[in-house]
Symmetry: D2
Subunit: 346 residues, 4 copies
Amino acid sequence: MIKVGVLGATGYAGIETVRLLAGHKEAEIVRIVSHSYEGTKISDLYPNLKGICDIECTGLDVDDIAENCDVVFTALPHGASKEVIPALYNKGLYVIDLSGDFRYDDPAVYEKWYGQPHSDPELLEKAVYGLCELYRDKIKGARLIGNPGCYTTCSIMGLYPIVNSGYADNHSIIIDAKSGVTGAGRGLNLPNMFCECTETMKAYKIATHRHTSEIEQELSHAAGEDIILSFTPHLAPMKRGIFATCYINLKEEKSAEELVELYRNFYKDEKFVRVYDAGTLPELKHINGSNYVGIGIAVDKRLKRAIIISCIDNLVKGAAGQAVQNMNIMFGFPEDTGLDLVPNYL
Amino acid sequence: MIKVGVLGATGYAGIETVRLLAGHKEAEIVRIVSHSYEGTKISDLYPNLKGICDIECTGLDVDDIAENCDVVFTALPHGASKEVIPALYNKGLYVIDLSGDFRYDDPAVYEKWYGQPHSDPELLEKAVYGLCELYRDKIKGARLIGNPGCYTTCSIMGLYPIVNSGYADNHSIIIDAKSGVTGAGRGLNLPNMFCECTETMKAYKIATHRHTSEIEQELSHAAGEDIILSFTPHLAPMKRGIFATCYINLKEEKSAEELVELYRNFYKDEKFVRVYDAGTLPELKHINGSNYVGIGIAVDKRLKRAIIISCIDNLVKGAAGQAVQNMNIMFGFPEDTGLDLVPNYL
Amino acid sequence: MIKVGVLGATGYAGIETVRLLAGHKEAEIVRIVSHSYEGTKISDLYPNLKGICDIECTGLDVDDIAENCDVVFTALPHGASKEVIPALYNKGLYVIDLSGDFRYDDPAVYEKWYGQPHSDPELLEKAVYGLCELYRDKIKGARLIGNPGCYTTCSIMGLYPIVNSGYADNHSIIIDAKSGVTGAGRGLNLPNMFCECTETMKAYKIATHRHTSEIEQELSHAAGEDIILSFTPHLAPMKRGIFATCYINLKEEKSAEELVELYRNFYKDEKFVRVYDAGTLPELKHINGSNYVGIGIAVDKRLKRAIIISCIDNLVKGAAGQAVQNMNIMFGFPEDTGLDLVPNYL
Amino acid sequence: MIKVGVLGATGYAGIETVRLLAGHKEAEIVRIVSHSYEGTKISDLYPNLKGICDIECTGLDVDDIAENCDVVFTALPHGASKEVIPALYNKGLYVIDLSGDFRYDDPAVYEKWYGQPHSDPELLEKAVYGLCELYRDKIKGARLIGNPGCYTTCSIMGLYPIVNSGYADNHSIIIDAKSGVTGAGRGLNLPNMFCECTETMKAYKIATHRHTSEIEQELSHAAGEDIILSFTPHLAPMKRGIFATCYINLKEEKSAEELVELYRNFYKDEKFVRVYDAGTLPELKHINGSNYVGIGIAVDKRLKRAIIISCIDNLVKGAAGQAVQNMNIMFGFPEDTGLDLVPNYL
């Protein structure tokens, strides 16, 4: 049984981490850190947890955490993470960071998209990008994980195999992504009030969303060359889910069946990846509430273009679930420990 | 490991039973029976189950079920259950029936509210009403369970302690209940189409809903005399949940704190019952997706009236979860086996 | 063409007033007052209004308003109204106040439920309670209207005829009301964030909601004696609508048909009241987006109890629509001018 | 005052036509035709219309319609329209058809996408494609209108100016469109049940949706050459709205401001088109419930790609509203008669 601390637990990614760890048989939450709610029981803030997790939130005390925890999940706002994480890391803790601060190969890319220099480029270099299906081996030996973003995980997993295959024009990628509102976090914000975002839809941050840079970084690895791409995020009136519709032009004619075969080979033995039969497509209700990625592939023969649907639960595979999956890999637990969640069709 | 069959698995109560059993470590689903979908994999109908439960639906073959199963869950439409259950029961199977057919003490009550005579009054007599917190001892020795309805479970659990206490005028009960749309089942039905029931609300079957009779039966036991009451069901634009607002006049002045104390004593040691501190109230998001019952109590001193909020997930504690809880009791498993579900706040 | 000013136009009741006035052929909006958004075009805040109403918000300048407007709608938070209204009133303006400040016969009742003494009891005395169907004649000669609350309008209109009839026990009233989220206003508030209030339901302010006092005031008039009653508000996951389920015990046996007849007589010639045939019931989608009140009546013969369903759009008949109806009456326009809105079934 | 008949009025496009005509001061509905509901009052099916439109549905009687109506709106399923319309047309009626049957220049295109030969190619030739902003002059003299589809109107209006400008690579178009559930009509259909489509999202008919052919037909006119394109429809959990995210590669560098200028010139004097300032984008709540088209333009400089957001209410500008707009043009009424609808932000 390992001892776990969660920082920033009262936000949506943080509380989902608590929810998943509450059902994890190899890990025990011993510290929940929240500035705003120091002294309050987490189950008073989230009464769904009553009797399940009644730990009291504490302020941040690095020494106390170092003494009592083996691993820390940091679900802090971008920018806040990198103030705290070096201290935790230097105390010898394992750290899984859900922010954007430790996801980059190159601090210059971080600076470009986050608008400020990275505060600890040396530590950034030690961090491993925690997309489990791609970097499992590196994660095994890591002590600091930059847990991927939600749009990112969904987009990369949907495109990696074809980009890597050489079948497609990797400079033609367009990702049109739709997110549930939990993706915007728990911060008070007029556009995320019920009456402002139900029964409507919008696009936002066209051509400027930060996750673009993460997707480009990883798909450039897949392609073996630098690629840039279009990424358009949308907000849809639902709580959970990322639904990415990905477009890529084929260099040669390929059927949906051939591409499905390609993807199934690529994700062979991956428990959390479901590649759909040609002619069928994933929907959010097939995967919501779980750590699964659903991938479906169609080909528009007239245009020699593949359309790839990828979907995940933004709070699970797009945040807390993948974070737990990373923990499982780091500590040698079966990778699905605490993640055997049946998706909520209803 | 016991062997389980599910009849009528493709409806919402049935598929929730499958979902819960898929995560139950002492039970294994070996038969899924569906007339309409014979030959189809359950995971083709509900792709959320892919890789989790891929059993093929079969037609009804009582001998085959008797040979291969220890226990059967019947989630058939009311009326259909009572054709099938005697045969299953006579083969020696344990049967947990989710319909209304085996919930009554008195076949005359069934006939009055269901509009037809009960087809097997003898078997009805052997059935135990499966409201676990009230009838645990009888359930232990039973082989046929009439699993309570969703409105019913919520209302009875919210009112039983006060009705039983003698503090209140048991002839003054009004239950104003609100249900999510899964309560209406999966049958094609215009009023349950998305565009017909989102962003609206309605009441229905005022003073005539069948669950009234079940609630009256049980609360009469609690009162030690025959009582009748008002029950008004509403449909609200959400998938899951029963939210019952219960009104009862007090015979003497009681504070909310005193009533909370009464309820906590009554439900002492009940894992699935959460009685809220006076001044706080349950919401559906505190219990949805789980087997919990949330109960909150307010007192209107001006009117000497208690207002009791009771809420459950209609598909879990109101159907499949309680059915599994019944199975656990019948077979001597820890009562929460397969039911350690963290409610979905998000 | 009369000139209109709207104060507090950027909240939900205010902006609905703007929306309705934009389509009113006898009135022209000439001032929109907003502290927070002085200098901003209303159509930049609410882009649905682009090209329809592009007026710039101004700060509050009583002289300017007095000079340029004939009538002012004040949709300010409770408490704020009563600071501003005396000044406007004294300038000779017609004032329709959407807050709770001018709705009471007795300042002591205001003080009891709003927790502070009324600041201008003399002016309160001059105000007319703007429930149009009940006080049309007084409204005609008034210069200050206390426009009724949303829960209030719905509940009073649903109960007035029966309470007034003498058929019922007026001390047995229970109102179980469900509101859409616009009822909570536009203020930033965690519980009204999309992810906190979709797919869930809650009750709140049981036995303490301020609208209780307004309902009691008016139904006491109907009864000819002081009555107190139970009022329980709930929040449901939808934008608009108040759905009130009202319970009242009958002193003598009455059929639903007889009560429908009673209601139809009472509301004879009322354009905005729809009394449903016995056996049918209103739903929110029958009236949402319009100024209609839908009333349906059922009788539980077993219990000699009438159950009356009353529903309105909280922003229209429950706020802005009734405010415009009041204006129409005050200025002698046909009462439905600008209010010929077809409800949004879809 | 012209006399109007509506065929297929009980579906969603039909009933929206009724709703709009009910508020049209130059037109009077005199016949509502419905096979399934002959003899039923339309306001019994749609109680929102009580007191507003209480006409009884009749069976189809071409002579009766010819005698009593000037113009007929046909909102029948695709295929059904073309059986009825020739008869109505030959009686001298003006016909506005909301199905896909009379939208094509070339019957071969119809046959290819609808899977059957067109039954009346001669009449097809006489039909005018009713996209009002593009074909106003032809509509003026027409007696048969093929009213455009919802996805179609939204996509064409979003792309026409740029495709026509010569600035872009017209062979690079990708349209990623999201629709509310009313777009699927009122037919009983499991995937459109509330519990099946709320809180989820899906793509469907990738590369095969019929509206693709309509969009290609019109954008080919804009381009002056045959173009084919990608069109991907999605279903989102909301009632109304089409939200199209359109991608097109620029041949030369253009700023968003320059493109906004281009669009504003193109749609100069068009009352129902709102081209947003660069840096701002339309959302469905800006236009829902109205006949407006909201168009916003972003440019991804890194990729030399324009991303154009176009949105409409599928039932209004995408069906009934445009149909009424066509009628207004045909009969010489001001084009916005009956269409001065303020969009429902809330």
